[in-house]
Amino acid sequence: MAQRTVIPFGPQHPVLPEPIQLKLTLKDEIVEEALPHIGYVHRGVEKAAERMDYTQNVFLVERICGICSFIHALCYCQGLERLMGLEVPRRAAYLRVIWSELHRLQSHHLWLGLYADAFGFESLFMEFWRCREMLMDIFEKTAGSRVIISACCIGGVRRDISDQHLQETLDTLEALEAAFDKSSDVMLNDYTVKKRTVGKGVLPADKAILLGAAGPVLRASGVEQDARQTGFAAYDELRVEPVVETAGDCYARAKVRIRECRQSLDLVRRAIAGLPDTDIAVRPKGRPNGRTISRVEQPRGELLYFLAANGTQKLDRLRVRTPTFANVAPLVHMLPGCEVADVPVIVLSIDPCISCTER
């Protein structure tokens, strides 16, 4: 007779760098139900944002997530610029695209490594992370820090990138692409990797829309949606075509991210080639007043900020909607019916960022 067991997956688990708990109800080796328990990294950022000045909040929202910190700051600054009627100089908009895309590249590299580790391919994990260090060197060179670069400020960017550093960035990307070709080939064509990923955790397009999936998870199910199409920063000039796959399984999600890496490489090169020669920031005048919504595309999907200001130094409300939160419901839908050995791979395939989700 089949036996029912409940296994706690997490909060401390080797495959997860961050704590989230899934209570898995198993029937023999098959998952019947998955219940997420969250709250291990809740800090209360939204409340803290009401306590601090709107200028200080830039540093606070960067620390919502250390992987895509620049994009959080970009989303927040963009919202405030709209409220204060600031026009960002074109060079700043282009620099924002460069740093955003570099962040997307490093986030996808990070994910590809962790994902390889989830199905036990440790040398591929090491290879992706070796390449990722090249990107970290670019950040350190251009912005002065490896992880939280604090380059975005209200009205533009805090620092310029010199021509010499732009050239060095291009050279590094050249080396990165050569290495990426090799390792992404393994990820897409290796027999063992395919055995572990093809047909696992399938999410059909109608379900993806119904459950509100975002980012690569949504696009891997065949839905064409990318917030970069709205044309924030300099994406109105550097057009972006959403990367779409149709299979909706773990393999398709990896493929979307690999193709997005190539797209990001291309975008950085185009942005550097077309970098206008203007100021990098305008001084903000007055205080923000009114309400607005700001949308950007994070590596994990669409990020949305709601800002309510009242004409003083402090905001009335800051609401953050992160892509991983949107992807938890699809994850809970994907897990039932899979084998317990596939759980780490499927969980990783949504690229969970718990610190974003819980703030």
Partner: protein, 149 residues
């Protein structure tokens, strides 16, 4: 120094727990394991099981929910053990120090041996923190043996 003490100082196994970080420190900690920094040169292995670990690395602020898990992990580790707090948040709460859900730094819950400052600290700093923790661990173990003798 006995054989086990020597072996432990040459190959400490680490356990990582994110008690409420923004991910920045966790990623830098993982970067230590990868080819550019490669702490496995020093015999350091990241392990998922607290019962096999010598050094507990904690990143991030401690909140009301993670404090219980953190305490639990620490209690399961065998003696001698050391705790390293990594990053501004683990030291004092950092940018989140007055948030409603935050208990404070790691030392609000556990005795901390080494504090590694930075937001986020560089991998080199994290490696040095682990090495310092080994020294502290050894001193304590020798003092305990002297007391027992």
């Amino acid at each position: 120094m006995g054989l086990i003490d020597i072996a432990r100082s040459k190959s400490p196994w680490i356990l990582h727990f994110d008690a409420g970080a923004c991910n920045g420190c966790d990623i830098e900690l993982l970067a230590c394991l990868t080819p550019v920094y490669d702490v496995e040169r020093f015999g350091i292995i990241n392990i998922g099981n607290p019962k096999h670990a010598d050094v507990l690395l904690v990143t991030g602020t401690v909140n009301k929910r993670s404090a219980r898990v953190l305490r639990n992990l620490y209690d399961q580790m065998p003696e001698p053990k050391a705790v390293v707090a990594i990053g501004a948040c683990a030291l004092s709460g950092g940018v989140f120090h007055q948030c409603y859900n935050i208990l404070g730094g790691v030392d609000a819950v556990l005795p901390v041996d080494v504090y590694v400052p930075g937001c986020a600290p560089k991998p080199e700093a994290i490696i040095e923190g682990v090495v310092m923790a080994l020294g502290r661990m050894q001193e304590r173990e020798q003092a305990r043996k002297r007391g027992a003798a």
